[in-house]
């Protein structure tokens, strides 16, 4: 079969777990930056930068919790990681969903402790990097440093996007398109993927009630914008979804 895999199913093109001691995983967030600098994975390991492969974690297991000492960032190799905080009333606020090839823990960079919780939503595999050692290495390798900055700014951008007064339909369209683009860049199908997060998590992230999430998706389906089958979603009319999401995506 030549069709790209439907997330979270993976194949050789999408799975980030295809590296070994001598080669980077194809989807590693750092491989190109390091390779450009002439650092291969063996050297990374020798430098004790690459701490270890973590997982599999089962759904509900935490990667780290808010307040844990910050010492490492991690790249998701498989599955979905949700980051969240609890407000003073104990209500959960979902910060984001992290897909294969994406990095978690970056928001701990400016402090000594993780400022949020990170939990596996399905079966998750991770690569854990010592952050102090990686920054020391980055000081010598401008490409790597650039990549770190890029990852951090992307993180901030993701948070900014939802801060406006968009409608429920606009938010949902932007959310689906965002997932689609991120998955496609990792070799997964852009048109079909599983929503590995619960509708409550989606709602929390988009600041919508769970019922509203379902109502909007149901309407998208009735209007032929998407096709839904249990957790699987297929984006059918991309142009209309893009038009719908434009007010958010253009900010």
């Amino acid at each position: 079969m030549t069709r790209p895999p439907v997330f979270p199913h993976a194949d050789a093109r999408s799975i980030a777990d295809d590296g070994d001691d001598a080669t980077f995983c194809t989807t590693c967030a750092f491989s190109s930056a390091c390779l450009e600098e002439g650092v291969d994975k063996r050297e990374l390991r020798e430098l004790h930068v690459l701490v270890d492969h973590v997982g599999p974690l089962a759904a509900g297991e935490h990667v780290f919790r808010k307040g844990d000492p910050f010492d490492a960032i991690a790249a998701v190799r498989a599955g979905t990681v949700k980051t969240y905080v609890n407000d003073p009333d104990g209500n959960e606020r979902v910060l984001g969903f992290h897909l294969p090839g994406e990095v978690i823990g970056l928001d701990g960079v400016d402090g000594e402790r993780y400022p949020c919780n990170a939990v596996a939503l399905d079966t998750v595999m991770l690569c854990r990097f010592s952050f102090p050692r990686m920054s020391a290495l980055a000081a010598r390798l401008p490409g790597l440093q650039h990549q770190l900055f890029r990852l951090m700014s992307r993180n901030i951008g993701a948070a900014v996007r939802l801060g406006n007064d968009a409608t429920a339909d606009q938010r949902m369209a932007a959310f689906l398109l965002g997932l689609s683009e991120r998955l496609a860049s990792r070799g997964f199908s852009a048109a079909r993927f599983h929503l590995t997060m619960s509708r409550a998590d989606i709602g929390n992230h988009l600041r919508l009630a769970p019922e509203t999430v379902s109502r909007v998706l149901k309407r998208f389906q009735d209007d032929g914008l998407v096709d839904l089958d249990r957790r699987e979603v297929e984006l059918r009319r991309l142009d209309e979804l893009r038009a719908l999401a434009a007010p958010i995506l253009s900010t």
Binding site: M1, R199, A200, V213, S214, L217, Q221, L228, R231
Partner: protein, 463 residues
């Protein structure tokens, strides 16, 4: 498109082997006691988390009957003591509260069905109380196509009581008839007059119920083609919207009540086939459409329409127009289908009661579906409803290459193809008109849990 079914005695004779009815896949023998309350809670939690959670169907099992019909293989308790019903309903109320709490509030119940046993062992007031209780705890859909249905023993309900049920919101009724031949009725311990039965059927109509079903059984002791022809003519004369014609499966080692049946009075295999042929010819001749698996419906009935436009579904309650729902089974022996799981309540009243009394969800066994199970379940569901396997849709939805994934199954299908039951093309596997009466035999080729041919089987025969 409504497809005809062709009766071919020789084929039916050769394919009359034990097999599941596929109201679920995996089937009940795969349910394991390791699936308990925690697993059901988890399945419900996951089902609530889906982007658009499925609507709910609720099934209520009423296990009581005042007298035993000897052919019965259902789970039931024989009693005339109405206080049993009172105690049962007290516990049922608790189960309704516990089960409804599993599901998010915005999940509508689009279908509510009372089965048994004999649901009308309960008074119409008691039944109305259960409906009201479910209405308080679940979110009963206000949609026009919401169904509230009940299996009725016409011997134990008056036309006025049917009116009370309709006033409660019941939209469908299924009447047990089996056979009007008095000789057969005595042999199975179910003596039931034509007049009282038709009066109940007419009352269902008069009080505005959307559709009425009549259950018949062929293969009962002392049954003759002449007697069954009269029964069929009488039933057709009353024009119920749906008619089910079940084959009697004589399994006295499994069902105690059946030991009361004198096996020497059972029709021979040949006579049984004649009865089936008669039923099919008579019903289709009278304008009924064959839906599949024992079921016939008038062409303007919702089932026939749903089959024609591809929206027919099938669950534990039989064929239905309601799209995929999560099924919540309440009461003794009831089966639930929640998310990617099937589970069942204890089959004995004592086991069910003690679980409820201990404030536990009374699930005692079940199964969590693997990805392979889901694929095969979808395949078999479509086959049972539409007589064909949607090869391309399954390939796409489940990311498989059909011919590779189901190479074994296609091999098992080969003799069925040779016998003209099935046509097998790369893009389409379809039952022929001959094969439509043997859908379960076709489905069995795709069942990975079936014991090897020749091994002892827990299932009844196909015909």
């Amino acid at each position: 498109m409504a497809r005809a079914c062709t009766f071919d005695a020789d084929l039916l004779r050769r394919y009359d082997r034990p097999g599941p009815r596929y109201t679920s896949y995996p089937t009940a023998p795969q349910f394991s006691p390791s699936f308990g309350e925690d697993e059901l809670r988890r399945a419900a939690h996951e089902s609530n988390a889906e982007p658009v959670p499925r609507p709910l169907s609720v099934y209520v099992h009423v296990p009581f009957c005042t007298s035993p019909c000897f052919y019965c293989g259902c789970n039931r308790v024989i009693t005339r003591d109405v206080s049993n019903g009172v105690a049962y309903l007290t516990r049922l109320e608790k189960e309704i509260a516990m089960a409804s709490a599993l599901f998010d509030d915005d999940r509508e119940a689009v279908q509510l069905h009372f089965g048994g046993g004999t649901p009308n062992f309960l008074s119409t007031t008691q039944i109305a109380d259960v409906v009201a209780s479910i209405g308080r705890r679940f979110r009963l859909s206000g949609r026009r196509d919401r169904d509230i249905s009940i299996e009725l023993d016409p011997r134990a309900i008056t036309p006025d009581e049917v009116g009370a049920l309709a006033a409660t919101g019941f939209t469908r009724a299924s009447l047990g008839v089996q056979d009007f031949d008095p000789d057969v009725q005595r042999a199975v311990n179910r003596v039931q007059g034509v007049a009282e039965t038709i009066a109940v059927l007419d009352a269902c109509r008069r009080h505005g119920m959307r559709s009425v079903n009549v259950d018949l059984i062929y293969g009962l002791p002392r049954q003759t083609t002449a007697g069954f022809a009269t029964t069929l003519a009488t039933v057709i004369g009353a024009r119920p919207d749906r008619i089910a014609v079940y084959g009697y499966a004589h399994l006295p080692q499994l069902f105690k009540a059946q030991r009361q049946i004198d096996a020497t009075e059972l029709p021979s295999a040949e006579a049984k086939l004649d009865l089936l042929a008669l039923a099919i010819e008579t019903l289709t001749g009278a304008g009924y459409v064959y839906i599949g698996m024992d079921h016939f419906a008038l062409p303007d009935d919702e089932l026939a329409l749903a089959q024609a436009n591809g929206t027919l579904h099938r669950n534990f309650m039989g064929y239905t127009t309601h799209a995929d729902t999560d099924l919540v089974g309440l009461g003794v022996s009831a089966i639930s289908h929640v998310g990617s799981s099937f589970s069942q309540n204890p089959r004995d009243l004592a086991g069910w009661s003690s679980a409820i009394d201990a404030d536990r969800l009374p699930v005692c066994r079940g199964v969590r579906l693997s990805a392979d199970d889901e694929l095969r379940a979808a395949l078999i569901q479509h086959l049972m409803c539409h007589g064909e396997v949607p090869v391309a849709a399954l390939e796409r939805r489940h990311d498989i290459v059909f011919a590779e994934y189901f190479a074994d199954a296609c091999e098992r299908l080969a003799p069925l193809v040779e016998d003209g039951l099935v046509t097998l093309r790369p893009d389409r596997i379809a039952a022929t008109s001959r094969g439509r009466l043997l859908l379960r035999n076709i489905a069995m080729c795709f069942d990975r849990y079936l014991p090897a041919p020749g091994a002892a089987s827990p299932y009844s025969r196909a015909i």
